[in-house]
């Protein structure tokens, strides 16, 4: 089955098995192993990616169902200047221990910050309810999200200032 889609800004056209998941497509066909293979039942969120900017668990999404759509994985976040604000905040806050859940966490946070630029702790915990971390206890993850959100707001504020 032919699938054409955009991943991290690059166009792909591939022949895939009809019931191949987006997760397997990313990891096994394209070698984008940042997206993690966790529970395969949609519970852990380690495989979270964005489809058209919205977070989905790629283990429960068939590759053929994202035909013609735009997918963003953790590999697509880094800019020419290095890690993006969310990734950098996870590093500086020690929000990652074994690191297995981190790509999924980061993608859920990216989705949250696209629609809510100043989430409070409750909103952050709600947005991350579908991302399990067995190491950190979540406190440092919440700290990282608060910091990343603040940095994005201040960056947006200063660039708006430059325009005016």
């Amino acid at each position: 089955m032919k699938v054409e889609l955009t991943i991290n800004g690059d166009d792909y056209a591939c022949d895939v098995e009809p019931d191949l998941t987006l997760l397997s497509f990313l990891r096994d066909v394209l070698g984008l192993t940042g997206t993690k293979w966790g529970c395969l039942t949609g519970d852990c969120g380690a495989c979270t990616v964005l489809v058209e900017g919205e977070p989905v668990v790629s283990c429960l999404q068939l590759a053929c169902q994202v035909q013609g759509r735009e997918v963003t994985t953790v590999e697509g976040l880094e800019t020419a200047d290095g890690l993006d604000e969310v990734q950098a905040a996870f590093v500086s806050n020690g929000a990652s221990q074994c690191g297995f859940c981190t790509p999924g966490m980061v993608m859920s946070v990216e989705a949250l910050l696209r629609t809510n630029s100043s989430p409070d702790e409750a909103e952050i915990r709600e947005a991350l309810a579908g991302n399990l971390c067995r190491c950190t206890g979540y406190s440092k993850i919440v700290d990282a999200v608060l910091q990343a959100a603040a940095q994005r707001r201040s960056a947006a504020g200063s660039s708006a200032g430059n325009v005016s």
């Binding site: 098995e17 979270t48 429960l60």
Partner: protein
């Protein structure tokens, strides 16, 4: 390994499913079906992908009528401010279903057709007098949602039948609804008990009411007799307690990992009064507009009507 058929129209989907009754299964959001295939609960040879069909996603409000396409994503219900005012129970049920990722993928039709006894959408839709619109090989028909569920995992849909939309009555300014649930964990859990209530108020008294339950019977159920207990009253605490007792008697829970049958009955008798009370406050404009019910329906001063 399953093959995937991508129909170009609802008619094509219906014809394909009718031609392959034993081996084909529809898929939309995939959040139940793909889990079932992984755990071996179902082994379809062919998946019919409905997710790309046009005209079955999204909802429209026409007066008091809400029409939800079967492919409407749970997340789009959760985030709609107009629905929060008009169909609070539905939005509250959507807010607690799975995670953001699951709600982004899962559809109303899938939540209903999977017929899980603890599913969130059924009780919320039942108190809004929902009707299922179905397209099958022999044409289209409608049926009250209360008659839709047969047993755990089974609906009245025959092979080839597809749920295409759900119609619901959404309250006017003198009506309100509420959905509450009991879970073991705060999130990513199935309801141990789910309770939805709706109340219509006329001249200071209940003119019409409905209570529906999930996770306490083989199928989502409307509580017969709940309305009789509350109509004509202003929902005083004795009346509410009686409604709770009737609901607890009417249900038929089992004991499992989420609670014993006795515990579930007890929770029903507690959550039904709270859900009715919040629905009443919404119907009488005493609840902050668009504001969700607190966890477990508890807030300071709830019995005096004083809000947080």
């Amino acid at each position: 390994m399953a093959d995937v058929f991508i129909p170009g129209s609802i008619e094509e989907a219906v014809a394909f499913l009718a031609d392959h009754p034993a081996t084909a299964m529809p898929i939309a959001g995939g959040t139940d079906i793909l889990v079932d295939t992984r755990t071996g609960r179902s082994r379809p040879e062919r998946l019919v992908d409905l997710s790309g069909l046009r005209g079955f996603g999204g909802f429209e409000l026409d007066g008091e009528l809400l029409r939800l396409g079967a492919l409407t994503r749970i997340r789009s219900i959760e985030l709609d401010a107009e629905l929060a005012r008009r169909a609070a129970a539905l939005v509250e049920a959507a807010r607690v279903l799975g995670s953001v990722q699951i709600r982004t993928m899962a559809t109303v039709g899938g939540n209903l057709c999977h017929a899980t006894p603890s599913a969130e959408m059924p009780p919320a839709l039942l108190v809004h007098e929902a009707v299922a619109e179905i397209t099958g090989a022999s044409g289209r028909y409608s049926t009250p949602l209360a008659d839709f569920f047969v047993s755990p995992g089974r609906t009245i849909l025959a092979p080839g039948d597809l749920l295409t939309a759900v119609r619901a009555r959404v309250p006017s300014s003198t009506s309100g609804s509420c959905y509450l649930r009991q879970t073991v964990r705060w999130s990513m859990d199935l309801a141990g008990v789910g309770v939805a209530a709706s109340v219509h108020v006329k001249e200071g008294a209940v003119s019409k009411a409905s209570v529906a339950l999930s996770a306490v019977a083989p199928v989502p159920m409307v509580v017969a007799g709940a309305e009789d207990a509350v109509v004509g009253t202003d929902l005083g605490s004795d009346v509410l307690a009686e409604a709770g007792r009737r609901a607890a008697q009417a249900c038929a829970p089992i004991s499992d990992a989420r609670g014993t049958a006795d515990y579930r009955r007890e929770v029903v008798s507690v959550l039904v009064p709270r859900a009715l009370r919040i629905a009443w406050l919404r119907a009488t404009a005493s609840w902050p507009e668009g504001s969700p019910a607190p966890a477990n329906g508890v807030w300071t001063g709830m019995w005096t009507g004083e809000l947080r």
